[in-house]
């Protein structure tokens, strides 16, 4: 079963977060699992990949499909009853497994489609598997293909470009206003759940400072502590405008909490440095007329929603293109896999030798006019015999390598030595 690739996994679509947490492998656990896969005589190659959104085990069985055994192994390793997670698992074989791996690498299967971290995580998992010696010729080649697809998708489609959630849209805007968010300070007006969510994203963008202003000072204080920020009284908000660059407002107030006059006064104090208001409160907190002040920009929740919607539409277009790239990669990889069998390889070597011999023979023949028909035939037979004697031993070796674990290794080397692979299109 040289080319059956099997993938068992669970991701954010099939398993709730509590289960994903239980199934996820730490770095040490991955090392253990790789050892196990490597030592299992029924498994030829294996690779384990685990992030907070997914756990995937991909392997090539020696005999049978080994699916139940691997599931048993997960159950033992993670101390979970099989019935607890069996229904959350997906099992892919052959092309489906390959396709899934390519999609994951290209970030098409991510919770945030197009997010760039996944590729780095996969590269790390691959490196670990290689270092442990758990992966071999087939998986290595497949992973390299996965990296190149991921790169192509990122370069040639706009899949990573569009912010499809409100807070990402806000951050994208902030990045088009300010060149370096890490040098900018943020003020939160209101300490509710929405504010907290927005800040979580901003923190991953590393802002300089976070200031929280809330009517109930205690809540402001609590939230500020959570994010290493600073709490101020709600009444100090106008004074604080002097030093902050991004304001995220989510209070429950029915009136505007920041008016045009307040901001105009603040703009003078801050030497008209650019300021960006993100108003996610309903009813609105920030007077929309503030958008008319020079170097001040106001986006409310509807503005952000509009951006998100148009981005989602664009994203769908790009996904079609990305899927095509993945499909092309699956086809090329499949071709390579099929060629890795014994018979096609022997045939390819034979063809290549015959071609070379015939070509050289004809070249020489054209300058030898005195030979008779039977002479020509004799010489041709001789050249062919030389060719077939030359490759006889290598072919005999390939038929019986004596290495039960990995024929594909020798086949791969042979194909490289004889340069038999169809060149891949760049």
């Amino acid at each position: 079963m040289i080319n059956s690739i099997i993938l068992i996994g669970a991701n954010h679509k099939t398993a709730p977060v509590e289960l994903r947490e239980k199934l996820s492998f730490t770095t040490d656990e991955i090392l253990d699992a790789l050892d196990h896969l490597k030592d299992d005589p029924n498994i030829r190659e294996g690779l384990v990949f685990s992030t907070c959104n997914r756990t995937e085990i991909i392997y090539i069985p020696e005999t049978g499909d080994q699916i139940e055994e691997v599931i048993q192994f997960i159950s033992q390793h993670k101390n979970l009853g099989v019935s607890e997670f069996r229904s959350a698992l997906y099992v892919y074989k052959g092309d489906k497994a390959i396709r899934h791996m390519f999609q994951v690498a290209a970030s098409l299967d991510s919770m945030m489609v197009g997010e760039p971290q996944i590729l780095g995580q996969i590269k790390k998992a691959y490196k670990t598997a290689v270092e442990k010696g758990a992966s071999g010729v087939l998986l290595n080649r497949m992973m390299h293909k996965a990296f190149s697809v991921a790169k192509r998708v990122r370069k040639e489609t706009g899949i990573g470009d569009n912010a499809v959630s409100i807070s990402y849209a806000a951050i994208e805007l902030a990045n088009k206003i300010f060149s370096d968010l890490s040098a900018k300070s943020v003020m939160l007006l209101g300490a509710g759940e929405m504010a907290e969510l927005a800040v979580e994203h901003l923190i991953s963008n590393n802002v300089k400072e976070i200031i929280v202003a809330n009517r109930t000072f205690k809540n402001a204080h609590d939230l500020a502590q959570k994010f290493n920020g600073k709490a101020v009284q709600f009444e100090e908000r106008e004074a604080a405008l002097k030093d902050v660059d991004i304001i995220i407002s989510s209070t429950g107030a029915t009136e505007y909490v920041l008016t045009v006059d307040q901001v105009k006064r603040a703009m003078k104090k801050r030497h008209h440095n650019t300021i960006f208001f993100i108003d996610i409160a309903v009813p609105r907190d920030i007077d929309p007329k503030i958008n008319g002040i020079s170097n001040a920009y106001v986006y409310d929740i509807d503005d952000l929603k509009n951006i998100v919607e148009s981005n989602i539409q664009q994203r769908e277009q790009e996904t079609i293109k990305a899927d095509r790239f993945v499909e092309e990669a699956v086809v090329t990889f499949r071709k390579w896999l099929d060629s890795l069998a014994l018979v096609p390889t022997i045939k390819a070597i034979n063809d290549k030798m015959t071609n070379i011999v015939d070509m050289e023979f004809n070249k020489t023949l054209s300058s030898l006019n005195h030979l008779s028909e039977s002479d020509i035939e004799a010489v041709r037979r001789m050249t062919r015999a030389i060719a077939s004697r030359t490759i006889h031993d290598p072919i005999r070796f390939l038929r019986n390598t004596g290495d039960h674990r990995d024929d594909s290794l020798y086949l791969n080397v042979t194909r490289q030595l004889f340069d038999l692979d169809i060149p891949e299109k760049k």
Partner: protein
Amino acid sequence: MGYQSANIMLQVSCLLYFFSMAGYLFFLFNQKEKTQKRSFYLLASAVLVHLAGVVVAGIATRGLPIHNLVQSLSMAALAFGCMFLYFQYKFNLKILGVFASILLSFLMLAVILIPDTPVEASKILKGFWLYSHILLVFAGDAALALACGAGILYLLQEKAIKTKTQGFFFKRLPSLDFLDDVSYACITTGFALLTFGLITGFIYAKTIWGRFWSWDLKEVFSVGTWLVYAALLHFRFYSGWRGRKSAIMTILGFMIIVFTFLGVNILLGGHHQEFTK
């Protein structure tokens, strides 16, 4: 022979400028790194050929080749090309190449199409102070032209963000802060060069005509331009005129420069006029 081969080089560089412009326009749509790089190399090679052409012409006429309108335009384009290469290297603001390549292509087209009448080298057009004056002023104007380009890009992006219509340019342009930084760097460079250009001009005037200032119209307009940029920098420091206001000022300032360069000589006359006839 010198004059002819110089002309051929200018034609070749014009062609390269146009290729580069085509590349940059293509880049504007497809946003591929490779396209941008190729267009940039095309533009850089155009500048090199252009420079070689100007040097050959200079050797042929035994002096700086700025005796008539065509040569002055060509020199202005060359200065702008060099300045663009410098700022592109420094800031890597890729989309600025679109502006630069378009401006350069059409400047060079004008250079090639306007008939170039060979001029006798004038005795007056020699000497260290004059050469410094000319080179500094051209370089300064070139930097201010780039500032104008960055200002235009700023206004485009500012409009997209202010009106909340994320159109064609929103994704293709960098952040407002960055555009403002580039524009500011171009203004300070240009302003410094222009200042020294004016000073060397005064010194040259003193050595030739015996006085620093002679109320020549071009002199008046040049000092006027200088004052506009001085005011821009002043307001930026003391009244927070940044962003949109600064961008509009750089565009206005550059329009005055263009008028000083072409309009004054063509419409009003004065002792600088022989350069642009």
